[in-house]
């Protein structure tokens, strides 16, 4: 609720007052539960995902403590197996994607000059489901009932006869529950980016971050059904005696792997792509120029999102499938590195032509390039079947995907945190703390994971809770464990930096970085309605472009102020020509209620209380009906009359 912003020329005080009246949500407990503001929801995604990241990270620290010395007894094998499963599952499903969805939620409407997401209530619903699904899964750990079969949960070890107890039921139901959130979020991003862009923001002026989020959303929509199918079949196998994955009953264990990786490989890009988008968003402010090769990067993003569906068998190179199919998937997996290569060199060219402003966000981007490139090399190695068969399922692959995921997601996320913290909180972070955090995270990351390449090559398989001392793995493991503490210390400094900025940071002002995209033309933190005047976009770098800036000041027009009612502007998909001003929904309890009944449903399924589950289904139907019931309000009230 920044009041420091003076009234822009071209818009009257009455308009601002009316906008505030229609968009501001009161500061009350009720408003906390009913909010549909994309910025609040985005912030919640970020905070909740960070919380799950801390849990998953602490799990890893305990594991590294166990592995620091050979044959140590910090953890029992059962505890270790639950921890490594929860570490992977939470990092992939409860941290990486929701964190990046959090950035997307906060930033996409701001970057495209909209006042909210296309479906604000669906957005709120997606958050509540994410929160509940995350708690649902983590709550199993204190009961010793957490998933214990690795994050990809291969059959038949996921079956009841090999794995009794609730472990894998928690896994199957938790991911199905979470999938509702991810899918609804993805659909929301697609519609928002296609329909709510400010006038003039034709497809060739869409920020690269938004391109990345939309491509990610499309991948989610097409990939997630395979995972949902897998988990639904697994639950049927476990509870209702079907035999989809039970070879004893005519089932096929490799069916699980195919379905899982048809989801799982695109998921790698679902995690990395928004990270690459963050890099493209951060670079212009710190190189003082636009990213080189915009069309090439867009093509690379689209190419990755398509080709990523054709490489899943490289996760199955040791399962003994026919060599002919291996040679195909090997070729596809080799080729998919090229779009990433294009992006890397486009960023390098940007840095070589621009003027570098070496602040914390750029440091993390540089850390990203170094780390992600190394992960890319080992990735290309894994595309070659013969090499893959030697090092897959060893610590070499653990090193590889941590280079890709910490490089491709964590470093960009940290860059994004420092970059957008002033926008999100209105406060500037402490640069010194940020630099310390970078060097500790960067050093810790490489000290932890680089040795894993080596002891993987020396024959250490992944997912072992202990190892003997006479195998040449001791030194490397000890170094990795020391590195993991350094990494944790660096991440702690990031957290301290964020808290410090919120408490003590100096006011940042709307545009501390002189950024190029539209979020920097909004207040920090943005008003509830984001933009007093929806801009008319004239270039790829609207905030650097005088005509766009003018369109929100002296050139402001009534059809872009839209102060009559809670409305935003809908535009055409390709050229973003104005179509209509659409009313946006008021805050509501219904998203929370629907997510709550779904939680009851999944908990009832988990505990085998099937009558309760049936009742919950009826409650879900009733809530959806109430949600969709047409409002009975006069047209004037919602502002359609004008």
């Amino acid at each position: 609720m920044s009041t420091t912003l003076s009234t822009p020329p071209g818009i009257g005080r009455e308009d601002l007052a009316r906008l505030a009246e229609h968009w501001d949500e009161p500061r009350s407990l009720r408003a906390w539960f009913t909010t549909v503001d994309h910025k609040k929801i985005g912030r919640r995604y970020l905070v909740t995902a960070a919380f799950f990241f801390v849990l998953a990270g602490l799990s890893a620290l305990v594991m590294r403590t166990q592995l620091a010395r050979p044959e140590s007894g910090v953890l029992s094998p059962q505890e270790y197996n639950q921890l490594f499963t929860m570490h992977g599952t939470a990092m992939i499903f409860l941290f990486a994607t929701p964190m990046l969805f959090g950035f997307g939620n906060f930033l996409v409407p701001l970057m495209i000059g909209s006042r909210d997401m296309a479906f604000p209530r669906l957005n709120a619903f997606g958050y509540w489901v994410f929160l509940f699904a995350g708690l649902f899964m983590w709550a199993s750990l204190p009961f010793g009932a957490a998933p214990n079969n690795g994050w990809f949960a291969y059959a038949p070890l996921n079956q009841d006869q090999h794995n009794p107890g609730l472990h894998m039921d928690v896994y199957a139901l938790g991911l199905l529950f979470l999938g509702i959130s991810t899918t609804s979020g993805a659909i929301n991003f697609i519609v928002t980016a296609l329909k709510l862009r400010a006038p003039g923001m034709s497809l060739n002026r869409v920020p690269l971050f938004v391109w990345a989020i939309v491509a990610t959303a499309f991948m989610v929509v097409f990939a997630l059904p395979a995972l949902n199918t897998d988990n639904a079949l697994l639950f049927l196998d476990r509870r209702f005696d079907t035999h989809f994955f039970d070879p004893g009953g005519g089932g096929n264990v490799l069916l699980w792997q195919h379905l899982f990786w048809i989801f799982g490989h695109p998921d790698v890009y679902i995690i990395v792509m928004p990270g690459l988008g963050i890099v493209s968003a951060v670079l212009p402010a710190f190189t003082r120029r636009g990213v080189v090769g915009y069309p090439l990067i867009v093509l690379a993003i689209v190419a990755i999102s398509i080709v990523s569906f054709g490489v899943w068998v490289h996760h199955m190179f040791a399962t003994g499938l026919p060599q002919l199919s291996y040679s195909f998937f090997s070729a596809a997996s080799t080729i998919i590195t090229i779009p990433s290569g294009i992006q890397i060199f486009a960023w390098l060219a940007t840095m070589m032509l621009g003027r570098l402003v070496l602040r914390a966000p750029l440091l993390f981007v540089i850390g990203f390039i170094v780390t992600f490139v190394l992960g890319g090399f080992t990735g290309a190695m894994f595309a070659l079947t013969a090499f893959d068969q030697q090092v897959t399922d060893s610590y070499f692959v653990v090193a590889h995907f941590h280079y890709v995921l910490l490089g491709g997601a964590l470093f960009p996320i940290l860059a994004g945190i420092y970059f957008w913290l002033p926008k999100i909180t209105g406060r500037m972070y402490h640069e010194g703390l940020g630099r310390w955090a970078f060097w500790l995270v960067f050093t810790g990351m490489h000290v932890t994971f680089f040795p894993m390449h080596l002891y993987g090559l020396f024959g250490m398989p992944r997912r072992v809770y202990t190892y003997r001392s006479d195998l040449g793995w001791d030194v490397g493991n000890l170094i990795s464990s020391i590195g993991s503490y350094v990494l944790a210390l660096g991440l702690l400094l990031v957290l301290i930096g964020v808290v410090h900025a919120i408490r003590r940071g100096r006011p940042a002002g709307p545009d501390p970085w002189e950024g190029d995209s539209l979020e920097w033309s909004a207040a920090s933190p943005p008003e509830a309605y984001n933009f007093p005047v929806i801009p008319c976009v004239h270039s790829l770098h609207p905030t650097w472009d005088e005509r766009t800036v003018e369109s929100t000041t002296t050139g402001a027009t009534k059809d872009r102020i839209l102060s009559e009612g809670k409305r935003t502007l809908f535009t055409s998909e390709l050229d973003a020509r104005p179509e209509r001003a659409a009313p946006m929904p008021e805050p509501s309890f219904k998203p929370l209620v629907l997510a709550g009944v779904l939680l009851v449903f999944f908990t009832a399924l988990l505990l085998g209380a099937y009558p309760v589950a049936v009742a919950a289904v009826l409650a879900v139907a009733a809530t959806i009906a109430a949600w969709l019931w047409p409002p009975r309000r006069p047209d004037e009230e919602i502002g359609i009359a004008s």
Partner: protein, 341 residues
């Protein structure tokens, strides 16, 4: 140790702190090349040697490309700071050639080499080659030889210099058969049979380990491949058909009695005795094996006694319950089992 010096520049460049990182990489490589390590970089078999060659090719290409990327990055960091004037060009040709063109050529070439190696790994031995049956269990390996009645466990004997066919099945969940110094992995798939092969170039023992997560004790599912001269191997095979060594001393005789009449025989078998259990490993030659519990502990009298009394403290979760063996009889039982060679 020529490799040690060669690999050092990579971590050094990455960290820009050459001293400690160089030392670290050297230390690690030393650890991996030492005698006990089952290192893929110290190949002793035809399959692993091929992949080792591929690895060093990929490694040097990576070093070269990484040096290129770091050089560009360093150039920007040195020359494009402070007062550098921003240039607004769009060097699309540079991006296309460096980011797509050159990588494409390199990748196609590497893919070709990879295909050749894939075909080489796929070229198993002929139809009439010696065949070893390896059956995965949670958490040990059953080993049988075509045409031989006896079985052994967690130890695969092969004749040196011969390409031996390995037929892989699993009794329960997925496992993966991996002997880093001899041959890359092949998974054991529930309900199906897979084939791979082993060919050791030198006599010796090569450690293998399950590489596909298979439950609580995945960490303790190791095995040993013993490559021996043909004559020794034939002698080993012949022993597989013969009854186990008969007890020679009174203690061994009492031990055998305890074994056959007690709970042991319900799960384990010893050829030529009444013990014919099929749940756990065949123990007919247990005295000569390299370890107890598939690599969990060394095979000596102390560990054997501890294992029999309560293997759950050694390998928690394994299928063998604590045995109510009379403390007075345990030494005899140990003496008997250790005599079985």
């Amino acid at each position: 140790m020529r490799r040690t010096a060669e690999t050092a520049p990579r971590p050094a460049r990455r960290q820009r702190r050459p001293g400690p990182m160089l030392l670290l990489a050297g230390l690690l490589l030393l650890a991996g090349c030492s005698g006990g390590s089952p290192s893929a970089l110290n190949p002793q078999g035809t399959g692993a040697a091929r992949v080792n060659g591929l690895w060093w090719l990929l490694f040097w290409i990576s070093v070269a490309v990484f040096a290129e990327v770091m050089a560009l990055l360093a150039w920007a960091l040195v020359f494009r700071r402070g007062t550098a004037r921003v240039r607004h060009g769009q060097p699309l040709r540079f991006v296309t050639i460096a980011g797509a063109g050159l990588p494409f050529i390199i990748l196609v070439a590497v893919y070709g080499v990879g295909l050749r190696d894939l075909a080489a790994l796929g070229a198993g031995p002929g139809r009439d080659a010696l065949t070893v049956e390896v059956i995965g269990h949670q958490w040990w390996w059953e080993v049988r030889y075509a045409g031989r009645s006896g079985a052994t466990a967690n130890e695969i004997h092969i004749p040196v210099g011969e390409r031996v066919k390995v037929r892989l099945r699993t009794d329960d969940v997925l496992h993966s058969f991996w002997v880093p110094q001899l041959m890359p992995k092949t998974d054991l798939i529930s309900g199906e049979t897979r084939e791979t092969w082993l060919e050791a170039r030198q006599a010796g023992s090569y450690r293998g380990q399950c590489a596909e997560y298979c439950g609580t004790q995945h960490a303790h599912m190791a095995f040993l491949v013993v490559a021996q001269p043909r004559a020794d191997f034939d002698a080993f095979l012949d022993r597989l058909d013969a009854p186990a060594r008969a007890p020679q001393t009174d203690a061994e005789r009492r031990g055998q009695q305890t074994f056959v009449q007690g709970t042991c025989a319900a799960c384990h078998s010893i050829r030529g005795t009444g013990a014919q259990g099929r749940v756990g490993p065949d123990l007919s030659n247990v005295g000569s094996r390299w370890s107890i519990g598939a690599g969990a502990v060394p095979n000596d009298a102390g560990h054997l006694g501890g294992w029999i009394a309560n293997s759950q403290t050694v390998k928690p979760g394994n299928a063998m319950p604590p045995q109510p063996v009379d403390a007075a009889r345990l030494p005899d039982l140990i003496a008997y089992l250790r005599s079985l060679e």
